[in-house]
Amino acid sequence: MHELREKYAHREVEFLAMYVREPHAGERGFPDHEDHRSFEHKMEVARELQQLKDMTIPLGVDDMSQEQHARLGNLPNMVFVVDRLGRLAYSNTWLLADDVDSVLARLVTADDPARPIEPTVTTRHLGPGI
């Protein structure tokens, strides 16, 4: 995602990540992670994630009721591309970087056909969301 953010930095594309519930808290590979106890705890874990992944994309945290997350489908690794008119242009239940790149390339090229941009990301799989 950071690669895409850099690529589209000068073409008026904003990136925002949403930290949601931990889907595998306490499981074999994640014994130190438990379900969020409070919003403060959730925010603390979100900051940990930000450090782990060296994230520069703003990371927003949904409240404990997961209201915002539920409005979008309540799945763990969703991705949405929204055009400047506020309409959904693309969505998926898994983050596929090349799809997102293709959609963004189409949107920004349509904005300014004199400065076309081509999809360049070939990585099919970026892993779970963030």
Partner: protein
Amino acid sequence: MAKPDGYFKRPPGPLAGFWSWRYLNWVKSIRLVTSKRVRRAYEAFPTTVPIGVEFPEIELTTTSGRVVNTREFQGKRHFVLFTGAIT
């Protein structure tokens, strides 16, 4: 604009996704992937926010304490919103 088959792609990853099983609770994972609740959530996903319609207003507090509302991008910028967690 989205590819018609774009909704239900499952994570491929190394070993067709089985790599992740090393880190997970197998029983819980099998229950999850076979549960009606999860299946219904994936089936409902394309209609929850359909392509071409107005995206719902989302307001989040960032880790730096700033409140971001997706309405602030409207008319100005395209945006990508993605969700995730550590586990």
